[in-house]
Symmetry: C2
Subunit: 359 residues, 2 copies
Amino acid sequence: MARAINFNAGPAALPAAALERAQKELLDLAGTGMSVMEHSHRGKAYEAVHNEAISLVRELMGVPDSYDVLLLQGGASQQFAVVPMNLLPAGKSADYVLTGAWSQKAYKEAKSVGTVRVAATTEKDKKFGRIPSQKELELDPNAAYVHITSNNTIFGTQWAEFPDTGSVPLVADMSSDIAWRPIDVSKFGLIYAGAQKNLGPSGLVVVIVKKELVAAGRSDIPAIFQYRTHADNNSLYNTPPTFSVYVLRNVLEELKKAGGLSAVEKTNREKAKLIYDAIDERSDLYSSPVEKSARSTMNVVWTLKTPELEAEFLEEAKKRNMIGLKGHRSVGGMRASIYNAVSLEWCKALAELMKGFKR
Amino acid sequence: MARAINFNAGPAALPAAALERAQKELLDLAGTGMSVMEHSHRGKAYEAVHNEAISLVRELMGVPDSYDVLLLQGGASQQFAVVPMNLLPAGKSADYVLTGAWSQKAYKEAKSVGTVRVAATTEKDKKFGRIPSQKELELDPNAAYVHITSNNTIFGTQWAEFPDTGSVPLVADMSSDIAWRPIDVSKFGLIYAGAQKNLGPSGLVVVIVKKELVAAGRSDIPAIFQYRTHADNNSLYNTPPTFSVYVLRNVLEELKKAGGLSAVEKTNREKAKLIYDAIDERSDLYSSPVEKSARSTMNVVWTLKTPELEAEFLEEAKKRNMIGLKGHRSVGGMRASIYNAVSLEWCKALAELMKGFKR
């Protein structure tokens, strides 16, 4: 079977070379006669993989030494609870900026842990079709942290520039756009990202957190949920999801080979431009619900004039072996998720289909 | 490289056929042109795998309809906290039976959540080398639940018969011996097991829980930690660890082909007997710290007279391509973990080495 042109929103396409390496080594990691899945997480063969994955996150993202890189389980959805469990002490409040369904979920879950407030929301005036400006943010200078979702997969918006939160730590859910370009990690208190979009398979969440926040975190919660537990044990306190970490390593290795995050940013911008240009060029057919300044480079959403036309478009895409283009069930329309592993060629093919459709 | 003879304590050996299937399909699941890792967890191809895995757990273990089967993340270590978070309301206490390091960890973590008491411990009189009898258990008839660890990987002990806890729900951590033989699930309120010993790769924990306990569980904790969240969503509330579930499916399929749990019990008993017989036969060389009635069929531990002899034994094993025989760092000695996927042939080879050593 030819490789599908995969525009899935996540779990999503992975670099073919990373998968091919996994396939080749599946029953024999590094000449050990065992699958990586069969290795002890305390043995040398796995530890080399584990440490390489962490080093590559550090290297590619330029993570300062004053930050821990943690490889955890439970995905971003679990971090929605674990972030406030660690960082939101009694008597303090945390600020949430609501820019879509995932930030709403993060907010709701945090509410079950402690006191939270909404610093801004773009729900009402534009149905999450934009990102708030700095001056719209009603920030509490005493907040424990400010939480944002850097990219909104469902609504197709993305923070082009990150907000200035002064001395209050900025916490970002970067599940759908981590490592799409270089960023200045030192501007954040904590970054978390489910791996299954830009980094690897599901079942793994990467947490990059300032050591001083780890040290100051609450210790009256179960040990398994304390960041310090995992920081103190190099993410080997309990058995890590070893195969997922291994695939993360393979994916990051490909990212490095491709020239790192500056190179991947250039390609990602080209990819997004191809599709947005097609939307704008065929305004007779397509429209975008997103303000131009907030357009996501990872998830491009658009609509056609009628549900019939949308169904027809999906049919044409299917004929070309393209999958995953249907918009999220909550909003409808079309969505192309074009994460790091989605090639420029795939995006060209989609743009051509879009431009030629019904011509 | 020849396949290693793998006696790892976990992550551990997996059935070669399950891995070979994963290798073959790694870039193309069911003719879709995508890896299982690249499929949406909301798509048909993955959902078929997910539902098959759950059905196979139900079928092989004879799980009654009045129980939910959940596929979660975070391993048994996370369940140490999540069990009391759900099942231990304020004003109630839970009973813990301490039979080794893992039950101690479960107890300690539960203590950070609510009120717990020790119903029995075998630490002092025999250094965890036995399992307490029914009459030793000082059970609280009003306890929220009684927690046991069904098999103790480090100390090599196992509950041959499960305790009678009357109307108090019995909760068992079966991480290291789930599905080694048929059991009567209806005797338990909740069973949990990290997959990485008998069932599949790490990064996945199987929870089998009585529906009435799910319904009665606390709802003042974050949604992600409530069993009802996952029960109501067929373990698809958030993105599951899709590849781990896929490998679980492959492993269970092999278990079914091998004749199910009755057949595997027979083999497992034969395997354990081979090694225990070797220990007993060469009492000049080996000794077992475990009471005979408590001997584990999954983890066989023994010692040699001196550390030098132990090192020499490990050298001989290495020459035969056997790995993972060193005892846990906390107790020393030897340990052979002989989970479901460790073949009778491998155990024969080990028993022969043991019987012939220094003869």
